[in-house]
């Protein structure tokens, strides 16, 4: 077979809020050997549904199978894939207080963020931006010796 190119894809899944629905989704990915880069889930306000945003990768054929297999699960209402999406991700970063705070603050501002907490020895900064820009930010701030980084995983909404 011809080697098929693996692409990053964002899939949004609308599911009924019920017990074990998340395991049904993650079992499907592990059982069929698909990747999950990140997964976020939260209820959709004033409805009986939740929305999952799954960042995955695979060839066109694999992505097509993932969406079809997801749709086959009984509690899945809708699957959006390759839609025109607005994507955002948040990251929290812990820096030593001894680092250059004004540099950090300026950088955070450039990535829709700010310093959100100041402790005795550390500060915590927050940024929220497109996942690629978050990657970029995390590369840039390496020299300020971040002690801990938490990424939220992407959330996305169709335009």
């Amino acid at each position: 077979m011809i080697a098929e190119n693996s692409e990053r894809r964002v899939i949004s899944v609308i599911v009924v809020n019920e017990a074990s629905v998340l395991s049904r989704i993650t079992d499907l990915f592990s059982g069929r050997g698909y990747n999950i880069t990140s997964l976020t889930v939260a209820p959709i306000p004033e409805s009986r549904y939740s929305r999952l945003t799954i960042v995955t990768s695979g060839s066109v054929r694999v992505i097509e199978q993932i969406t079809k297999q997801l749709h086959k699960l009984i509690p899945v209402l809708r699957v959006y894939e390759h839609a025109d999406l607005v994507e955002k991700e948040m990251a929290l970063i812990k820096f030593p207080l001894s680092e250059n705070l004004s540099d950090i603050s300026t950088l955070c501002a450039a990535y829709n963020g700010k310093i959100v907490n100041v402790g005795e020895n550390v500060i915590i900064a927050m940024v929220a931006d497109e996942p690629v820009r978050i990657e970029n930010f995390l590369r840039v701030i390496k020299k300020y010796n971040p002690k801990e980084i938490v990424r939220s995983g992407a959330v996305a909404l169709e335009r």
Binding site: M1, Q65, K68, I74
Partner: protein
């Protein structure tokens, strides 16, 4: 009406029109068994192992077309049933399997006979439920039957904690099913069907590729009509045996790893594959990149995920086979059957070059002869179940099937031990037919305790054990691909199968010759009691033709030619 959860299970089964269920009691399911004791609306068959209960329910479902039901307890009762669930999932068999669970208050405490049943069954069922409140039971059971039978059928597992079966609530089964998230598409797209028919009309060497979905959709007779109207030859998958009658001029045979030379060559030479309810399984396609290489593909399936999963479909049609085939029949005027005359004669040549046959060149009986002989003697009057291995392939190759639902075998999962309990379920569903189970000396021991079930229930299944003192199919691969190192496949040490059958109250025969076989089969049919007919067959016979794993369909190992005397 205010009733207990256990009574709700009974009432729901009655409302669903269930006449027979299979099961095995135990602690967590006792409330339900107590209600079974008190009712007489349906029959309960006590198997001697939970795996057998689920296989029997599968056999029942496959032979009758109805939903099969099995009832089991928690913990080991459930885990024993998992193989059956997985088998039904792979072969799209509609089942509702109800298991007991420890009481809600004990869930998560590693209680006696507790296991996370829905966690285990999630990946081998179409859907599953853990019922935490008896108020939900009527809806859950109604949904379970609906989901099992609709769309692409499959097993649904319902796990009910013991306190929920004791809980008393209002029961109303007269409810609308409203599953906003589950709406199988049963009607094919009319424009797409028309485009597919135009492609067929243009094709020079089209080929019907018939799959098990036809049987599930009860569409075999419509498919027969379509095949005859169009004059297009057809190959069947293992699961589709019986769709066309064995003597149909347009039926080439089964294709795939052990398909006939003509069927595999037709698939390799066709310019348009017309797939109906088949899923391009690896045992069918062989090497994917060489499969029907120069052909367009029409793929009709009720499961969108089956389409373009392995082989890209040029004309995907999502819908129930029966609906789609009926629409195709309405357009069959577009097709000129005479156009395919030379294609049909090409295929006939393939068949004459390497027909599906065997050589009677050994002292011991040939297993293929036994299958063929049963076909001659019983033919349409028998339903044929099998276990898994060489005997299964020979049965698929050599039995003269005449109708859908005559053939009951574990295709996808390939479960040894399936045949005997399945044949019990088949007999319960279709008592007017003789229930045959072709099995091997390996497979039969995997559920031989079912002798007791068959004796107790007076279900006279005739097990024909093709005994070659080998785990034959593995032995064949060892002979061919492992330089004859027959690792752990020599089954020289065996029970006395005749005595084994007799010990349970059945009847046993040991057969060496053709005359003995005819006499034993005749006697077993007349005696009307569960039977083991042990046939001592040639030990080193191989299933041929064979496409080695991962090879191309047109590169078959073939039966050696012998000069006719």
């Amino acid at each position: 009406m205010q009733i207990s959860g256990a009574q709700m299970v009974i009432e729901a089964l009655i409302a669903e029109g269930v006449d027979t269920i299979f099961g095995y009691p135990g602690g967590a399911i006792m409330n339900v068994y107590d209600e079974i004791y008190k009712q007489n609306k349906f029959h309960h068959i006590l198997n001697r192992h939970e795996q057998a209960s689920v296989h029997a329910a599968e056999g029942y479902a496959k032979a009758s077309g109805k939903v099969g039901v099995a009832l089991i307890t928690s913990g080991p009762g459930f885990t024993n049933a998992v193989t059956g669930l997985a088998d039904a999932y792979m072969d799209s068999i509609p089942l509702v399997v109800i298991s007991g669970q420890v009481p809600m208050s004990l869930i998560g405490t590693d209680a006696f006979q507790e296991i996370d049943a829905v966690g285990i069954s999630r990946s081998c069922t179409k859907h599953n439920y853990l019922v935490t409140d008896a108020k939900d039971l009527p809806r859950v059971l109604k949904e379970a039957f609906y989901i099992a039978a609709s769309g692409r059928p499959g097993p649904v597992h319902v796990d009910i904690p013991k306190d929920v079966t004791a809980q008393i609530e209002e029961f109303n089964y007269d409810i609308e099913i409203n599953l906003e998230t589950y709406k199988p598409n049963v009607k094919g797209n009319t424009r797409q069907i028309k485009k597919a028919m135009e492609a067929i009309a243009k094709a020079r060497r089209p080929l019907f590729y018939l799959g098990g979905g036809i049987i599930n959709s009860n569409a075999a007779y419509e498919v027969r009509e379509l095949v005859h109207k169009t004059g297009i030859p057809a190959v069947e998958t293992f699961m589709a045996r019986g769709t066309l009658s064995h003597d149909d001029e347009l039926l080439i045979s089964m294709l795939g790893m052990h398909g006939s030379y003509a069927a595999n060559m037709a698939m390799s030479e066709t310019d348009l594959v017309i797939g109906l309810g088949a899923r391009f399984d690896d045992r069918v396609t062989g090497k994917l990149s060489e499969f029907a290489k120069n052909a367009g593909v029409i793929h009709v399936d009720i499961d969108p995920a089956s389409i373009s999963k392995l082989v890209n479909a040029d004309f995907p049609i999502v819908g129930d086979i029966k609906n789609v085939v009926l629409e195709m029949l309405g357009l069959s005027e577009m097709i000129d059957a005479d156009k395919y005359k030379s294609w049909r004669s090409n295929i006939k040549n393939f068949d004459e070059l390497h027909p599906l046959t065997f050589h009677e060149d050994s002292d011991r009986l040939k297993p293929q002869w036994v299958i063929q002989r049963v076909g001659e003697l019983l033919g349409d009057s028998a339903n044929i179940s099998t276990d898994v291995g060489q005997h299964q392939m020979w049965a698929a190759q050599f039995y003269p099937f005449t109708r859908p639902r005559q053939w009951i075998s574990s295709g996808g999962l390939g479960t040894m031990g399936f045949g005997f309990p399945a044949a019990i379920g088949v007999k319960a569903a279709t008592p007017e037919k003789i229930s045959i189970n072709f099995t091997g000396d390996g497979s039969i021991l995997m559920n031989c305790q079912e002798l007791m079930t068959a004796v107790e229930q007076k279900l006279p299944v005739i097990n024909i054990i093709l005994n070659n003192n080998f785990l034959g199919m593995v032995r064949q691969w060892q002979t061919l691909f492992y330089d004859k190192r027959h690792s752990e496949t020599d089954l020289s040490v065996q029970p006395d199968f005749v005595k084994l059958a007799e010990a349970f109250g059945g009847i046993g025969y040991r057969v060496h010759t053709k005359e003995e076989f005819d006499a034993a089969l005749k006697d077993a049919v007349e005696k009307n009691v569960v039977a083991f007919i042990e046939v001592l067959v040639e030990r080193f016979e191989n299933v041929m033709p064979m496409v080695p794993s991962g090879g191309s369909l047109f590169n078959m190992m073939l039966l050696e030619k012998k000069e006719k005397k």
